[in-house]
Symmetry: C2
Subunit: 190 residues, 2 copies
């Protein structure tokens, strides 16, 4: 496998399948990773992420102005639950067993084993951040595991099942993305 850069015009497709995500951030040498179920697209180049005031990661995002949205895979489901169940406010070594790596250009930690990673630069909006706990970010960098997302397209049907995206419901229940189908269609309207 290779981790390849994703054309920023097509990076939104990493999120458009609606996966549960993880969010990482770093400030002043301090890293954290959290689980984030409520991350949505705003058009095809921006992300809106719900980061509650209890989240340790929130302070890192506020101070650094960046966060990374991960698109986790089935093989990472226990990691997603782990980072969601443990707070860095309550343990110093939360990430001790989480394999992280870095890409050039961005001093942001990426968790190994995801299908894709989107670097988001915060577009400050005090009202949304303080009143709604929403952090909007412009997608400024993206990579994918080329076994599952390549040339701007998901290729789940050709990839190992453990690389399928995860879609969390509640109480430990999740679904993997399933069967693909292709329709002919014209331009979107309303």
């Amino acid at each position: 496998m290779a981790i390849k850069p994703v054309d920023l015009k097509k990076a939104y497709r990493l999120l458009q399948v609606g996966p549960t995500t993880m969010i990482s951030a770093k400030h002043d040498g301090i890293e954290n990773v959290m689980a984030a179920a409520w991350v949505g697209l705003v058009g095809n180049n921006k992300v809106m992420a719900y980061i509650g005031k209890q989240a340790f990661t929130r302070e890192l995002v506020e101070k650094s102005g960046y966060y990374v949205v991960h698109v986790p895979t089935v093989q990472q489901m226990e990691t997603v639950l782990y980072v969601g169940e443990h707070s860095a406010k309550e343990m110093d070594n939360k990430l001790e067993h989480i394999p992280l790596f870095y890409q050039e250009e961005f001093d942001l930690p990426l968790v190994e084993g995801s299908a894709g990673w989107l670097v988001c630069k915060v577009i400050p909006n005090a009202q949304n951040e303080q009143e709604l706990d929403l952090f909007m970010g412009e997608i400024v960098g993206a990579w994918s595991d080329d076994r599952v997302f390549n040339n701007g397209h998901w290729i789940f049907d050709d990839a190992p099942d453990e690389l399928r995206t995860v879609h969390y419901v509640a109480g430990g229940q999740f679904y993997a993305i399933g069967k693909g189908t292709k329709f002919n269609h014209g331009p979107g309207k309303d």
Copy 2:
């Protein structure tokens, strides 16, 4: 099958799997339905929907203060593409072949065949609506097809495949939700 009310405390789970959606609205007797890929949860009782200024549905939402987020199924994929490809601004009878029904309490059209429906009452926010095309809504009503979502839980593995949620990517390509798994886990933290 039966269309059952969903406990509003658990209605967010209809969207948490990250489906592509349809949005319907009605004002002054005029109905419309649009496709909406960019609809996300904001916490467990609110929705944020991207509704572009070109959308005919937008005016109905602005004037009525309500919209309905649909959770479409595989059997509706052509309907999702149809309502996304045709604008009510360009045809008078866009919904002619779209089977609609109504529930008591709400004068809002629901498209038959979806897995779930969430009535959202707009929480006005001029900046988000005008600058970002985002309409936040509080979930004030919800129903599901009890063959696929019942007692607050998705039961895809026991339901017909044509009732699985759809996760659109681009260019007519979509994936259905897939295999389910259950993990034991504790309360969510960060």
